[in-house]
């Protein structure tokens, strides 16, 4: 089945928010913009509105205009909607301004001066903060978590060798090609006026909760609608709540519709990024490379507010031990406050950082023991029945050893390796190498997260017998609408032409949870199937569900008997049986299931310039059943290329705590000419509790490429790179 909205995207007919005419509810729309902090930390002493503007013609929103608490509702609500007289990071929102003339508005916003009495910012998360940099508790810690299994001291006592290493990853900007955009207006409702927010987002109910909280309204008086969304990758998970609040506040003050569209430089400077990380490994091994103890320390830079850092850290530490089993494990995780933009969700959510460390470390263990890196992986790789660091017993029937062997075969690993070694003996300045990473990715929310989310899906049977899936899951390019249509059509025995997926609109769709964590097809897709079952039971005889044409006519008959009524089947999340997690002690089933992957990268390093080029890349993935091969392949290829950027070129440069290279001119994402064709192989093993038999696919591709590429660079050059992005500046000093 082809992407449903594909042709309208190819012809340019798809209307993103900034493409829409200012008509209908947006008639008389004002443009909104944000005045931002010029420094990283301090008390706002004065705000001066520039001379030469008739400020009575502008709508200005300050913190005192916020009806409810000045808090962005998320885990800890510590992030203000507008800086309350005190700023904690560069580019933090201070004042909102709106005007009908976009150009006049730009100049007016630029004329506003925010004076701040600066205080010492904490800018390096790796350093212990000085007393004058402490802003939270006694140590600036945002969150601390631990996983303990067995007794590492016992393992270290038996060690043949102890291998240590420190690994670092940098911030990464999402660079969805449609920048953030939001609109808001006011409608009449039965219980009073309704603030309607429509825009580019992943999680309508996150936005709804944020609006309810800060605007002090119940859900009958705020409504959130998703507009076609040009990419997200996690960058439109929590940040849209902020823009939605800004837009809503301006609209409430102006009593007119308001639109906020970020330009690229504002989007890059002000919105969330991937958490920078520092991971330390200390591993006890025997002669064969078998790990006897793993001691892992994970430190994430959380930025200025808590936002999602506790859950990013949680996923990070759970993935830190890699797809391996070890009797004795201690993983200690911390997320640290710094005065930089809050780090947030980004594809992989903490796992790519810790997997980078462990997969690079596996190769370094092999080097220390003079073993083949594949052997070190093989002796430690999880088999069904083995336990992870949280003591989760792995099951599901995927043979990870076979997956590894098969991938090496597809990748021509041995030939690549031989040829590279031969090539390197003769070439004056080019060096080739090949590297492997074996990875896992927990699908869905961590631990009991899915139970707490308690997601719901409705499927409506319409008078003509067609079905409409009503879910809060958003389409942002990854293919939700296409895949839901297919899952629903298969479950109902329908033709896809008789299945529709409703626009996420909190007045119409129930809360299916956020569109994140590779959970949409697996978790919400399963709910789609069950909601159809429920609907089919309602219209069937003696409670037996109908299918196909029989279902269609029964729905039509129901509507004839119940004119003007709504017919809906609903499903609510139920955890698969025997999944238990103790989220206090981090023991048990951290995820209902894992997706598995193997990556093989072949690279070429130019010793003159220290530039690294990826020559060949194979990504093999077990994502359960593949529902749509073209879409799933595209997810993997896109994720791999995003990870190649993170590994090699995407470097966020800071100046005084703010993003200094906030343009695509000097924040370098891969072009088509920078990457090879990404060869994708699916290892299909249907997961019975996932929609259509699927596990998550979105994030796994992000986990393996960076360590596979650095392992290949090490193989090519003999260097020992341990930090990414591995720019020429970083690699050159390592090439002796």
């Amino acid at each position: 089945m082809q992407r449903l909205e594909g042709l309208s995207k190819l012809t340019g007919a798809e209307r993103y928010l900034d493409d829409e005419p200012l008509e209908g509810p947006l008639k008389g729309c004002l443009w909104g913009m944000t005045v931002r902090s010029p420094v990283s930390r301090g008390k706002i002493t004065r705000i001066t509105y520039g001379a030469g503007f008739d400020w009575s013609q502008f709508v200005v929103v300050e913190p005192s205009d916020i009806p409810g608490p000045n808090e962005t509702y998320l885990i800890e609500n510590d992030q203000p909607v507008l800086a309350p007289g005190y700023v904690r990071h560069m580019h933090e929102a201070v004042v909102l301004i709106a005007h009908q003339d976009r150009n006049l508005l730009r100049r007016a916003v630029a004329s506003v001066r925010v004076d701040v009495a600066p205080e010492p910012p904490a800018l390096d998360f790796r350093l212990t903060p000085r007393p004058d940099q402490i802003q939270r508790g006694s140590d600036n810690l945002l969150k601390k978590l631990q996983i303990r299994k067995g007794n590492i001291e016992r393992g270290f006592a038996q060690a043949h060798k102890i291998v240590e290493g420190e690994y670092e990853t940098g911030a990464q900007e999402h660079v969805y090609i449609e920048p953030n955009a939001m609109s808001a207006w006011i409608e009449d409702g039965p219980t009073g006026d309704v603030v309607v927010v429509r825009g580019s987002m992943q999680c309508p109910y996150y936005v709804l909760n944020a609006l309810k909280h800060a605007l002090k309204r119940d859900e009958s008086r705020v409504r959130v609608i998703q507009s076609p969304t040009g990419g997200g990758f996690g960058g439109k998970e929590d940040y849209p709540s902020t823009i939605a609040l800004h837009c809503a506040l301006l609209t409430l003050k102006a009593r007119r519709p308001v639109k906020i569209v970020y330009d690229r430089s504002e989007d890059m400077a002000a919105t969330t990024k991937r958490h920078p990380s520092l991971v330390r490994h200390r591993t006890a091994v025997d002669q064969n490379g078998k790990m006897l103890a793993q001691h892992i320390e994970v430190i994430l830079d959380g930025g200025a507010y808590v936002t999602l850092s506790p859950v990013v850290l949680s996923r990070g530490i759970i993935h830190a031990a890699g797809p391996y089993t070890c009797e004795n494990v201690l993983i200690e995780g911390k997320a640290v406050l710094t005065n930089s933009v809050p780090y947030g969700a980004f594809r992989g959510f903490g796992a790519p950082q810790t997997i980078f460390a462990v997969e690079r470390h596996m190769d370094r263990i092999a080097a220390a023991l003079n073993l083949d890196p594949l052997q070190v992986r093989r002796v430690n790789l999880l088999k069904d029945g083995d336990t992870t660091s949280t003591q989760q017993v792995i099951k599901g029937g995927t043979d990870r050893h076979a997956l590894l062997d098969q991938t090496l075969h597809i990748a021509n690993y041995d030939a690549h390796k031989r040829e590279a070694e031969k090539f390197n003996r003769t070439h004056p300045y080019l060096r080739r190498g090949v590297g492997v990473a074996t990875v896992l990715h927990g699908a869905g929310f961590t631990g009991n997260g899915e139970v707490y989310l308690n997601s719901k899906v409705d499927v409506a049977g319409r008078p003509d017998g067609s079905l409409e899936v009503l879910a809060a899951s958003t389409e942002m390019g990854q293919g939700t609408n296409t895949v839901f249509t297919k899952i629903a059509a298969d479950a109902a025995g329908y033709d896809i032409a008789d299945v529709f997926v409703g626009t996420p609109d909190t007045f119409r769709v129930p809360n299916s949870g956020p569109t994140v964590a590779s959970r949409t097809v697996m978790v919400v897709g399963k709910l789609v199937e069950r909601a159809i079952d429920e609907l089919a039971r309602q219209v069937g005889q003696n409670g037996s569900p109908l299918r196909g044409p029989a279902l269609k006519s029964a729905i039509q008959a129901w509507h004839r008997a119940n004119p003007e009524s709504e017919l809906k089947g609903r499903a609510t999340y139920q955890p698969p049986p025997d999944v238990k997690f103790d989220d206090k002690n981090y023991i048990g089933d951290a995820y209902a299931t894992f997706a598995w992957g193997v990556c093989v990268a072949a690279v070429e390093v130019d010793l003159r310039t220290a530039a690294v080029r990826v020559l060949d890349f194979v990504a093999a993935q077990d994502i359960g059943k593949v529902i749509n091969p073209v879409l799933a392949t595209g997810q993997v290829q896109g994720g791999v290329v995003q990870a190649i950027g993170w590994a090699l070129t995407e470097e966020m440069k800071f100046k005084d705590g703010g993003m200094h290279n906030n343009t695509l001119t000097n924040y370098i994402i891969p072009t088509s000419d920078d990457v090879p064709s990404i060869r994708v192989h699916f290892h299909e093993n249907p997961y019975p509790h996932g929609g259509g038999g699927a596990k998550g696919v979105g994030e796994l591709p992000m986990d393996g490429p960076a360590p596979a590429i650095l392992n290949a660079v090490a193989h090519a050059t003999g260097a020992d790179p341990r930090a990414i992005p591995l720019t020429p500046e970083r690699l050159l000093p390592l090439l002796r």
Binding site: Q2, R3, E5, G6, L7, S8, K9, L10, T11, G12, A13, E14, R15, Y16, D18, D19, E20, P21, D101, R102, N103, L104, R106, R107, H174, V175, Y176, I177, E178, P179, P228, G230, G231, F233, D263, R264, S265, G477, Q478, V630, T633, G634, V636, Q637, G638, V640, V641, Q642, T663, L664, T665, I669, P670, T671, S672, D673, D674, V675, S677, I678
Partner: protein, 160 residues
């Protein structure tokens, strides 16, 4: 960063050009970007803005049959030129791109299609340059480029 009319100091220029084969006569601020003229004044929002600084290619149009980033072109410079936008590409031709997975979120897609369409009409450029090199001016953050490259190849009818 967009700079359109409304600075009172700016005077306007009257220009004529051809847009998708139709004659256009319009008064423009000398600083107005072609991208904004198309999107906000001529009601052709198929051309997208991804960066506004000539890096991403989402705003690709052709001017006198050469691809250009419309975010970098002041509209007055297309005086007398022939401008074509995504709205001029026949929908019926796009099946191969769709089948190959050339679009995901779609934000880069109109620019990708414009460049691809140009390559299709000037396929001799493939004698000296690879498709990957020719497409390198269109950043895509979703597809990893394989879907795009495959799609263009199928569309052009070159080797699979």
């Amino acid at each position: 960063m967009q700079t359109t009319a409304s600075n009172p100091a700016a005077s306007t220029l009257q220009i004529a050009f051809s847009l998708n084969g139709q004659a256009i006569d319009i008064a423009v601020d000398p600083r107005e970007r072609l991208l904004d003229t198309l999107r906000y004044r001529l009601n052709l929002p198929g051309t997208k803005e991804g960066c506004g600084e000539g890096e991403c290619g989402a705003c690709t149009v052709t001017i006198d049959d050469l691809p250009a980033n419309s975010c970098l072109v002041p509209t007055f410079q297309v005086r007398g030129c022939s401008v074509r936008t995504i709205e001029s590409v026949p929908k019926a031709e796009l099946g191969p791109m769709l089948a190959a997975g050339a679009t995901q979120c779609g934000a880069c897609t109109p620019g990708v299609v414009m460049t691809a369409h140009w390559i299709k009409q000037h396929s001799q450029v493939l004698e000296s340059q690879t498709l990957r090199a020719l497409m390198a001016g269109n950043l895509c953050r979703c597809t990893g480029y394989d879907g795009i490259i495959d799609g263009v190849r199928r569309w052009i009818g070159g080797p699979q």
